[in-house]
């Protein structure tokens, strides 16, 4: 029962978050906060040729928010900005509209582990924290380059 929510891949990313830390000269740096539970993260990335060249994050929070963030950084490194935005929207759609994990784009395969969180509306916000922060960062970048 509990194990189908807390899949091993979630716990692995929680214990060993990928792309942790800070970038020396990020092009975009954004803070995301979930005021309900106090989870917070700082996301930063560099942009080269309209792609996310490097991406890192720091933060603290529950296993759902932290693993989602960790998986996101892995999925997006090297991705075009437009594609990143599309992936973020696809993931949000799956989580918010009770979509099926198998409909997720291939690049987000690992993130299908978070499908079980759908059943916990309060926790969906945790899973989306990193992605909403990313979308905010992409908007900031668009503003900068206008």
């Amino acid at each position: 029962m509990t194990d189908d929510l807390y899949r091993e891949v979630i716990l692995d990313h929680f214990r060993h978050p990928r792309n942790q830390g800070a970038l020396e000269a990020p092009d975009v740096k954004v803070q995301g906060v979930n005021p309900l539970c106090g989870d917070s993260l700082e996301l930063m990335f560099t942009v080269k040729e309209a792609k996310i060249a490097d991406i890192k994050m720091t933060g603290n929070g529950c296993s759902i928010s932290q693993s989602s963030a960790s998986m996101m950084t892995e999925a997006l490194k090297g991705k075009a900005l437009g594609e990143s935005e599309a992936l973020a929207k696809a993931f949000k759609k799956m989580m918010l509209e009770n979509g099926a994990a198998e409909d997720l784009p291939e690049d987000l395969e690992e993130l299908s582990a978070l499908e079980g969180v759908q059943k916990y509306p309060v926790r969906v916000k945790c899973a989306l924290l990193a992605w909403n922060t990313l979308l905010q960062g992409l908007e900031e970048w668009k503003g900068k380059t206008k």
Binding site: T2, C37, G61, S63, I64, Y120
Partner: protein
């Protein structure tokens, strides 16, 4: 063993036989709200089926019966808190509204720039934000009695410096909803009165669990909520002495709170109606009467003894089974209520809350509307189990077993 048999009382609460994710519900979120016995639920149904009418204005039979039922409830509430005069029991929506009533009708009239409102660092947002707003409106300043640490006591050594002739109000919780600490409100009130301050006691956590007598408590204002003591949501109480209430202007204007009305002015109704504008929560008030009957039948002293027993058992068992667990609040059950906040190092409280829910165990996880306290201790939140008269030692065992699931999943982090 105590005189209270929780296994028998549980039969009165239909919801307690529910299953959650296939497991028996273990309801340990009583500091947030409590479950309702059949008698309370039935009182609402019976009222709507047989008596429903508006109160105080009608001359017809139903209206008179409804009025009389509601006023009987007021009498029961008054007796429950030892108030000699039922007209000093004001029905509100909840403890929060009761406190806001004081913040508007008393504080905004009586505070001026430089005056001080003394609070504590363990106040619930409901006993903090109304004072922030009142301070903003009047130029008064907020001061705080510090909390010594996770052991949960107010640092009374600071009281002499904090209580001065500038202090016009002390607003303090009788029992912390995070730490469980029972504060020495009578002593605090004595000290506050000595400098001429009024005293508001937030009884949202204490009135359900301790015998309260406003004659000896020392409070000038006492606020609490029905839903945390077997009653319905949407009903709260403010008590204050008649002489004080008489000096206060109404909080909300409308029907029922007036005596005479002209196009440009009005005079106010007598107590308590002056503070009860509009059609009140009649059903809620009547059901609260049924809840108080139930509590009286069990006996507040028995409830307190049972909760001390179960809290002591929980503290001991949790510490034995999880040596690394961090338990907050006083270690001595004589100084605390049945609220146990805890942290498992390396595990976020929301993960604890979700995993426990999968095992049928309902606890609260988060900041518990006490962000000031959480910030002081540098944590985002805690997990909290809180008990009431129907909880059993077996349920504490279920809590411990489900925390075993948390440990199993997060073992590399807990280790």
């Amino acid at each position: 063993m105590t005189a209270l048999n929780p296994d028998r009382l549980r039969l009165d609460f239909p919801i307690l036989s529910r299953k959650i994710h296939g497991k028996p519900l273990v309801y340990l979120d009583n500091a947030a709200t409590t479950q309702k016995p059949m008698s309370v639920i039935m009182s609402m149904t019976a009222y709507y089926e047989r008596t429903n009418a508006n109160v105080h204005r009608g001359v017809h039979t139903l209206s008179q019966e409804a009025t009389s039922l509601m006023e009987q409830s007021r009498d029961k509430v008054a007796a429950f808190i030892g108030a000699p005069d039922p007209a000093t029991v004001i029905f509100t929506r909840n403890a929060t509204e009761s406190i806001n009533l004081v913040a508007y009708s008393w504080a905004r009239k009586n505070l001026k720039p430089g005056d001080e409102i003394l609070l504590t660092e363990m106040e619930h947002h409901s006993n903090l934000i109304p004072w922030q707003m009142a301070a903003q409106a009047t130029g008064a300043v907020l001061r705080f009695i510090p909390v010594t640490g996770w052991d949960g006591f107010l640092d009374l050594s600071r009281l002499d410096g904090l209580l001065t002739p500038r202090t016009k109000l002390l607003a303090v919780t009788q029992m912390s909803n995070v730490l469980g600490t029972i504060n020495p409100v009578t002593e605090l009130a004595r000290r506050a009165h000595a400098v001429g301050a009024k005293v508001l006691v937030d009884g949202a956590q204490s009135a359900p669990h301790l015998a309260v007598d406003v004659k000896t408590l020392g409070a000038d204002f006492f606020a609490f909520s029905a839903h945390k003591m077997l009653g319905p949501t949407g009903l709260g109480v403010l008590w204050a002495p008649r002489a004080l209430l008489e000096t206060m202007e109404p909080f909300l204007g409308g029907g029922d709170m007036i005596s005479q009305v002209w196009p440009d002015r009005a005079t106010w109704n007598e107590l308590p109606y002056k503070f009860e504008a509009g059609t009140p929560n009649i059903t809620g008030a009547i059901a609260f009467g049924a809840a108080i009957d139930y509590l009286n039948q069990v006996g507040m002293d028995n409830i307190r003894a049972h909760e001390q027993d179960i809290t002591g058992y929980a503290l001991g068992t949790l510490k034995d089974r999880f040596p690394k667990i961090v338990l907050h609040g006083p270690a001595d059950v004589a100084q605390r209520g049945g609220v146990v906040s805890f942290e498992l190092p390396g595990v976020h409280p929301h993960d604890i809350g979700t995993i426990l829910d999968r095992e049928g165990v309902a606890v609260r996880a988060g900041h518990h509307c006490c962000q000031v306290l959480m910030k002081k201790f540098g944590v985002a939140g805690t997990a909290r189990a809180s008990f009431y008269l129907y909880n059993t030692r077996a349920e504490v065992d279920a809590l411990v077993a489900s925390l075993g699931q948390v440990e199993r999943l997060f073992v590399p982090s807990v280790r």
